[in-house]
């Protein structure tokens, strides 16, 4: 029987990995992927807790998160494509139009 703390630790490692990816990588795609990793870290955590607490709420919430992550990925990729076509940029630090 794997203790619940192991799931939480895996989840934390995944989350921090994603967070570092978002903060330090420049490429749009990588950043998007890191965001997905963070979401999945949360999913792991939720499912583990659902199992641990014997409640279906966590699993249902996870299904929502997966659905929303799909939508978010679609919108994000669309934006990336538009930016890429218009400006030929692939890095987030080249885009700073939305400032004061």
């Amino acid at each position: 029987m794997i203790p619940v703390s192991a799931y939480v630790i895996v989840s934390a490692i995944l989350f921090v990995t994603g967070l570092i990816g978002v903060l330090v990588r420049r490429n749009f795609i990588i950043v998007m992927m890191s965001v997905e990793i963070m979401l999945n870290a949360a999913n792991v955590n939720l499912v583990a807790m659902a199992q641990h607490l014997d409640s279906l709420a966590g699993q249902i919430l996870t299904l929502f998160v997966i659905a929303i992550a799909a939508g978010e990925a679609a919108v994000g990729l669309a934006i990336i494509i538009v930016v890429f076509r218009g400006k030929l940029a692939t890095n987030v630090d080249q885009i700073n139009l939305l400032k004061w």
Partner: protein, 667 residues
């Protein structure tokens, strides 16, 4: 039906005023032809309505009140805008609208080609409205409105040639002198209301019996002041001769036939108050008699045809006051009516003479006109005979009645004054006739060149008035004989003297004797004029030379105008100058000082605002500005920065929650 027609009487001229007045204001959208038709047409309609109302009243002589609407009210005071129709009102209505209509028709010819033709008729119709309100009102307030209205129209029409300085001055004089009288009248109204609690004629006359002697006297004298101002009696008569600056139809309508008789009408209307105070009545009589003689003597030597007639009017009005003063109210109204006929006739025919002579008014430059303008001569002759007291003409009946009444009631002094005035009247009117129409022509050659008779539109009203002047007196004798004619029977109920003292015994023999005496007096006056100006034309100059002093006194009108100038006008001007001095040196300086202080403190406030308040506000503004400049750096537009801030915030939040749980859990 009855109410409607009564209301329509003043309404028709009012409508003409509004329509023609609007036409003047919007710049003459229709011609003079339409304007004058509207003007006299409206007066004709009023006249027809008046005749109908008069016929109704003959059937039912009791006073009838027509309330148009409740005008204003509060406390004990209720003033209705209403009309009182009784025989006295009917007589006045017929005179005002009838003579007014004739004069309107005459004016069409007389004023043709004048500037402001339409304006003239607007004023004339406005005058008709005011005069009708004056005679029809059922209370003193409506009377007062009419009273002021006719004063205003008199002012406007005297000053009709407003670009002429003398006309403007005469208009102002008339207005100011009338105001003095009006103040008295106003006080009388206040006294009436204060003591009787109403201003309606019928109520006032019923309640007047409760007045004590002193109050009744005060009211009567205040009313008299008003009447003296409006009817040009001593000492307020000076405006009337000057009022001759107005066009001649105006002199005929306003300053002879109607407006100036308003004072007589008012006294007769208020006779219930006068009957209570024999003293006030005596004052009326004395003022009337003295004025009659005074004005008649001035008229003896005047050389302006209209001024002679003006003084004659003052004198005749004096006679009417004399009649009121001796209690002969019916005779006063009778003389008012006949005077309206023959004086309107005289003024209008004088206007015709002036018209024929291209504006000449000096009788020294007339003479020998009788065959040049025969129709005018004919009617002028009739008018002169009527006023001078030629037997069986209108003036003879009414004047005799007044003098006879004065004599039979024991006022011998008043009778003597009136008789002397009658003698003077006969003399100066005959003199006027002789100097104007007979003897050698003294007309300037260039004027004589286009001497012409007046057009038919002017002659026709003269003819009508001449007929009225001849037969008008008969309403006073047919059918009942002397002092018992239709007129007297009609008017008597209105002026019947309450209580004892009425119904003096009539001595017919004495009456006939007095008639003979006054006829003789008139004939003597005529003969004297005939002798002076026809038989011995050089005689007047010789008499003048012998009596230079008297002549100069009369020619200068007893220097009353000059005396008034010195006594009132000059001190008034001096007071004005004094006030001006105080104003410029005292009040103005204070005002200027205040102004300077204000402007100085204003400058101080401005400085404080600019440098203290604004700077404070600017500090706040700049502070915000600088803070914003710093803080906007946070919004870099780079996703990483936002993500980092998000993470940082998240860390802080988690730590805070942890801290809270830690310590919260511990406690």
């Amino acid at each position: 039906m009855y109410d409607l027609i009564v209301t329509l009487i003043p309404f028709f001229p009012l409508l003409a005023v509004l329509v023609n007045g609007l036409n003047v204001l919007v710049g003459y959208r229709y011609s003079h032809e339409i304007a004058h038709r509207l003007a006299w047409g409206s007066v004709l309609l009023s006249f027809l309505c008046s005749v109908w109302v008069c016929l109704e009243t003959i059937g039912h002589p009791d006073p009838r009140t027509v309330i148009v609407y409740r005008w204003f009210f509060g406390g004990d005071l209720t003033v209705n805008f209403g009309f009182l129709i009784d025989p006295l009102t009917c007589i006045m209505l017929l005179v005002v609208t009838g003579v007014g209509f004739l004069i309107h028709v005459y004016s069409v010819g007389y004023m043709r080609g004048e500037d402001g033709f339409t304006r003239f008729f607007v004023y004339m119709n406005l005058f008709m409205v005011s005069m009708l309100l004056l005679v029809m009102g059922n209370n003193y307030v409506v009377l007062f409105i009419g009273w002021e209205g006719v004063g205003l129209c008199s002012y406007l029409l005297i000053g009709y040639y407003y670009d002429r300085v003398s006309a403007a001055q005469a208009a102002t004089k008339a207005f100011v002198v009338n105001r003095i009288g009006d103040a008295g009248f106003l006080m009388a109204i206040f006294l009436i209301f204060a003591n009787l609690g109403t201003v309606d004629y019928l109520d006032v006359f019923v309640r007047a019996a409760t007045l004590d002697q002193a109050t009744a006297g005060a009211i009567a004298l205040c009313l008299l002041i008003g009447a003296v101002g409006k009817s040009a009696q001593l000492p307020l008569y000076t405006w009337l001769p000057d009022a001759m600056e107005g066009p001649t139809p105006v002199s005929a309508l306003i300053h002879a036939a109607t407006m100036v008789t308003a004072g007589v009408y008012m006294i007769v209307r208020s006779h219930a108050i006068y009957d209570l105070t024999p003293d006030a009545l005596l004052v009326v009589g004395v003022i009337g008699a003295v004025t009659a003689l005074f004005a008649a003597t001035i008229a003896l030597v005047q050389t302006d045809i209209k001024r002679v007639l003006a003084y004659s009017t003052v004198s005749q009005l004096g006679l009417m006051f004399l009649a009121c003063g001796v209690g002969a109210y019916t005779a006063a109204i009778f003389h008012l009516v006949t005077h309206a006929f023959f004086k309107a006739l005289l003024f209008l025919s004088a206007g015709s003479v002036i018209h024929a002579l291209s504006g000449e008014q000096d009788i020294r430059k007339m003479g020998g006109l009788w065959d040049k303008i025969p129709k005018t001569h004919g009617v002028f002759l009739i008018g002169t005979a009527a006023i001078a007291g030629f037997p069986f003409l209108s003036g003879w009946w009414s004047k005799d009645e007044i003098l006879g009444h004065a004599f039979t009631h024991g006022h011998y002094v008043l009778w003597a004054l009136g008789a002397t005035a009658a003698f003077c009247t006969a003399f100066y009117m005959s003199r006027l006739l002789y100097l104007t129409f007979y003897g050698e022509s003294r007309v300037a050659p260039d004027v004589a060149h286009h001497l012409h008779e007046s057009p038919t539109v002017m002659i026709l009203p003269l003819m009508v008035l001449a007929v009225l002047s001849v037969v008008g007196g008969l309403i006073g004798v047919i059918p009942g004989g002397l002092e018992h004619g239709w007129f007297h029977q009609f008017v008597e109920p209105v002026v019947r003297v309450a209580g004892p003292g009425s119904g003096a015994t009539h001595d017919n023999e004495l009456a006939y004797l007095l008639m003979g005496v006054t006829t003789l007096i008139g004939a003597t006056g005529w003969f004297l004029a005939h002798y002076f100006y026809q038989l011995k034309p050089e005689q007047p100059d010789r008499v003048m030379a012998r009596m230079t002093g008297v002549y100069r006194v009369l020619l200068n009108k007893y220097w009353v105008d000059e005396a008034y100038d010195q006594a009132f006008v000059e001190p008034g001007k001096a007071m004005g100058r004094g006030c001006d001095l105080v104003d410029t040196n005292g009040i103005d300086r204070v005002v200027i000082a205040v102004e300077q202080v204000t402007s100085l403190s204003g400058a101080g406030s401005t400085w404080i605002e600019k440098h203290v308040i604004y700077s404070g506000l600017n500090v706040v503004g700049y502070g915000n500005h600088l803070a914003a400049r710093l803080l906007r750096r946070l919004q870099s537009g780079l996703v990483h920065h936002y993500a980092a801030m998000l993470v940082g915030g998240f860390v802080i939040l988690v730590n805070l929650i942890a801290l809270f749980l830690w310590f919260g859990g511990a406690s």
